[in-house]
């Protein structure tokens, strides 16, 4: 079914790339001020002042941040699912995104973010790392679905409460909504810079396809076949934590992307990670940009709301199949 790239897989990849290209253009057109494709082009070329401002100041950073966030969350989901050998593992459900949010919010509250652009992502990475360690402690590797999800529920509740408390105590109430239900409106080139390491981490995952396959079928089996499982697992944890944290630092908690995208991709192109990892980066970006456009068309629904509206029912459907 999935040894050689078959026509179906090639078609799925071509479709994802075509969809991405289309959405890239649409994403620059749609918004409070609608632009025609011709205006988008003249805006991109800085030929027309108004279109140029809209494209370069508002929509392009938003588009790029959305793409990076989607790529990061989908790839983090793929990695976590292989690590825990469970297709329900993902940054949102396991509380890693909530950890990143809590870290970011604490940094904002104590005013640390004013000094440097990089404090916010670093704080987010610290929070996400703590959450990752907690999940591993609570659920162990290859844990049952119940155990894994319960650990995630506990962490999400704890970290969510922490985030809400910090934000309300420090009188930044307006930001609570942003951090608990993520979004990518009003993103600037600064946010693009903050999220840019996602490209590097994604590229580092690329060569790990084969070992990921082996790990996904059992850590002891993988080790007996020659994989240095301890080293591989460490790399995977660092990568998935970094990806989740960087995405959270610029967009808040955007749920379900790491669950939906890998699952649909496995159905479309099979479970082999040497394809799943790169395609998940493209498809994740496509999915989030698409959700963002849908949100804008539906009267400025936040990205986090759109992904949750799609992801909630999807998750329940998956759960019904799994348990």
């Amino acid at each position: 079914m999935s040894d050689q790239p078959n026509p179906r897989q090639a078609a799925a990849l071509a479709l994802a790339i075509a969809a991405l290209c289309l959405l890239l253009v649409v994403s620059l057109m749609v918004g409070e001020a609608r632009l025609t494709p011709a205006q988008v082009v003249s805006g991109l070329l800085r030929q027309e002042e108004f279109a140029s401002v809209v494209v370069w100041q508002l929509r392009l950073p938003r588009l790029i941040v959305g793409g990076l966030v989607g790529a990061a969350l989908a790839a983090a989901g793929v990695v976590m699912q292989a690590y825990f050998r469970n297709s329900l593992a993902s940054p949102g459900l396991l509380g890693v995104s909530s950890g990143g949010t809590a870290g970011a919010v604490v940094a904002i509250a104590i005013g640390a973010t004013a000094s440097s652009l990089w404090i916010l992502p670093l704080a987010s990475i610290a929070g996400a790392s703590l959450a990752t360690l907690a999940v591993i402690g609570l659920a162990r590797r290859g844990a049952s679905t119940e155990r894994l999800l319960l650990a995630g529920v506990a962490l999400n509740a704890l970290l969510g409460a922490m985030t809400t408390y910090v934000l309300s105590a420090y009188e930044r109430n307006t930001q609570i909504l942003f951090w608990l239900l993520g979004g990518i409106e009003d993103r600037t080139w600064e946010h693009v810079a903050m999220a840019s390491p996602i490209v590097v981490v994604g590229a580092l995952l690329w060569p790990l396809g084969r070992p990921l396959d082996l790990l996904a079928l059992g850590p002891r089996e993988a080790q007996s076949l020659g994989v240095d499982v301890r080293v591989l697992r460490r790399k995977l944890l660092v990568a998935s934590t970094l990806l989740s944290a960087l995405a959270t630092a610029v967009a808040g908690t955007v749920g379900f992307v790491g669950l939906i995208v890998p699952h649909l991709l496995r159905l479309a192109i099979g479970p082999e990670h040497k394809r799943l990892v790169p395609v998940s980066l493209v498809a994740g970006a496509t999915f989030v940009i698409g959700c963002d456009i849908a949100g804008r068309l539906a009267g400025d629904l936040r990205l986090g709301i759109v992904t949750s509206l799609i992801g909630g029912p999807f998750f329940l459907w998956m759960l019904r199949k799994t348990l």
Partner: protein, 243 residues
């Protein structure tokens, strides 16, 4: 390789609560059975032998006389293959791609994979997702993967338990062929009648090694009574063979 003819030797193994073993040496080119009641430490022994569980402080595992600790991780994948007792798959990799994983340490995708698929009667299943197979079929996939590694030391944890009589016999014949070609096959089993036909048997009892050697000298009525609590006698019995 040193002068030792042992494919595998274990010394001073101590896995708390699971296995304590002073010394066990297994000859190269032999078909070797590991028997013992449930919980006697067979799986633990195989995992220690495969380098998947630490042998404990002062414990040592040697492959062909070479300490396992000095064998690089990737080399291990070429020199020994381990098959777990339970074959569980979360993701729907195809049968062939799982068998091809046996080539990971060799860095090639193909060599010996189709042969291994055919050996274990998996040709008709080769494109099916492994998570939709029956327990016995999944086990054959793992055995085929172990075979595809081409490793001279094969460590199989109860390979016969999940298989139907015919596939069980085929696996035994294959193991026999591997050992005749100079490989060493060590596997745990519960069928003492099968154990009787092997080259070498190690008996575990209460997480310790009770006896090891040729089956006719080891599997005495006294030992069977003491270790397994069964009375034994030779006599006419149903004999199964491949046609």
């Amino acid at each position: 390789m040193d002068a030792s003819q042992d494919a595998l030797s274990l010394g001073a193994i101590e896995v708390p609560g699971r296995l304590q073993l002073d010394r066990l040496a297994l000859p190269r080119g032999a078909l070797i059975g590991l028997v013992g009641p449930n919980g006697s430490g067979k799986s633990t022994l195989l995992q220690v032998a495969a380098g998947l569980l630490p042998p404990g402080p002062g414990g040592a595992v040697q492959w062909d006389g070479e300490p396992l600790a000095s064998v690089p991780m990737l080399d291990r994948g070429r020199r020994a293959a381990w098959v777990p007792q339970e074959a569980l798959f979360e993701f729907g990799f195809s049968v062939r791609s799982v068998v091809a994983q046996g080539r990971f340490a060799h860095g090639d995708d193909g060599a010996g994979v189709d042969e291994a698929v055919a050996q274990f009667d998996l040709v008709a299943l080769s494109h099916r997702p492994v998570n939709e197979l029956s327990g016995g079929e999944r086990h054959r996939v793992l055995l085929a993967r172990a075979l595809a590694t081409g490793a001279p030391l094969q460590l199989w944890d109860e390979p016969l338990a999940a298989l139907d009589p015919r596939h069980g016999l085929e696996v035994l014949m294959l193991a026999r062929k591997l050992s005749q070609a100079g490989g060493t096959v060590v596997f745990s089993l519960h069928d003492l009648r099968v154990a009787h036909c092997l080259d070498f048997v190690a008996v575990l009892h209460e997480r310790k090694l009770r006896a090891a050697g040729a089956p006719e000298t080891v599997l005495t009525p006294e030992l069977l009574r003491e270790v397994f609590g069964v009375k034994s006698r030779s006599g006419e019995t149903l004999i199964l063979e491949l046609p």
